[in-house]
Symmetry: C2
Subunit: 212 residues, 2 copies
């Protein structure tokens, strides 16, 4: 689903009055675009004489970027599937006390599953940011603006995924899970903000950008 | 090209060792994703009884978001076409003084054309941010996180497009054009940063997000 269909169709469906794909799925795709550009930078570095000294390191980065891209495309689809499960739970019968309880339990269960997709996407985007840090120095210099685009998209995709985690948490009653999830994401988000600043500045300096 | 092909194929080509699609094209696509989510929020608002009072205004926003999405998808393709023209100019013969001059002129001409695609994309992304400002209050409340994702992607896509303008400017010798282009983008970028902050905070407050 989606990945083998025309690009325009995905965008048409995202724009439409149908609930999926929504922001969670789109965030994962934006992260995958950041991963793709990370790979592009690596592909223009590995195998070039000028960058022989860093070849092994950059080949490793390429391999992880490719894994992250595949994972984020999976999550782009997964996000729409789990959203469907939440909707199903909400449409359960809601009349007798037993029905109300069964429905509420099903909703909570579905929300906990649904939250995992954007949570996983946020982790992947954080990794993409980390992968780009050495590329500023070691990647092919001609592609420095692509490093910039990769980290800008990865950071906004990470924040977007976190917004989708938060919207799920706002309906989840399990306080421990809320606390644990935010505790996991909080230091990652801080690190991502710092990495994005550092890399973005280095890229702007490298290209002599006046607008930043 | 691209828009009617499988989504995965576009990402594979972006990730590959081929020069196009690169960061400029990907930035335009990220902007189109922001536009798509803007339309989604509008599509869940227009025609709903609860939002009857704002229907006309939101329908107008929808119409502009759809135009911007189409334009950004065009620019996603256009960016790869104009990049090809720059490459062609660089590969012109470069031996005699006449050849050197003709090549240099052709490069400058191609760069000026190439710069227009990311410049246009940046303007579109700025518009997407502006369209989302009233949606925080007037859009369907259930889609508030989608407003958040839309503006996060639009802002990072705008910055990404500007990076691609800057990389072109760094090779362009026409000082007036450099000055004029930066003069046009600079106030827009400042406004975009402010809008992004304002809307992002409002979205986080609305969903009771603790991570931001």
């Amino acid at each position: 689903m989606y990945i083998d269909e025309p690009l325009k169709k995905y965008l048409d469906e995202a724009a439409s009055g149908a609930p999926t794909p929504g922001g969670g799925s789109v965030a994962a795709l934006a992260g995958a675009l950041g991963a793709a550009l990370t790979s592009m930078v690596c592909n223009f570095t590995v195998g070039k004489k000028k960058y022989k000294d860093v070849e092994a390191e950059v080949a490793k980065i390429l391999s992880e970027a490719e894994e992250l891209r595949a994972k984020l495309l999976e999550l782009m689809v997964e996000d729409t599937r789990v959203y469907g499960k939440v909707s199903e739970a909400y449409s359960m019968p809601n009349n007798s006390p037993e029905e109300k309880e069964a429905r509420s339990e099903a909703i909570q269960k579905a929300l906990k599953v649904a939250m995992k997709a954007p949570l996983e996407a946020a982790l992947c985007c954080h990794r993409i940011l980390k992968l780009n840090e050495p590329l500023v120095e070691k990647g092919n210099k001609n592609l420095i603006s692509d490093v910039g685009v990769a980290i800008l998209l990865a950071e906004s995709a990470m924040r977007s995924a976190i917004l989708n985690v938060e919207i799920n948490l706002s309906y989840i009653k399990d306080e421990n899970l809320r606390h644990e999830t935010r505790g996991k994401l909080s230091p990652m988000l801080s690190e991502a903000v710092q990495l994005r600043e550092k890399i973005y500045q280095a890229v702007n300096e490298a290209i002599g950008a006046e607008l930043k």
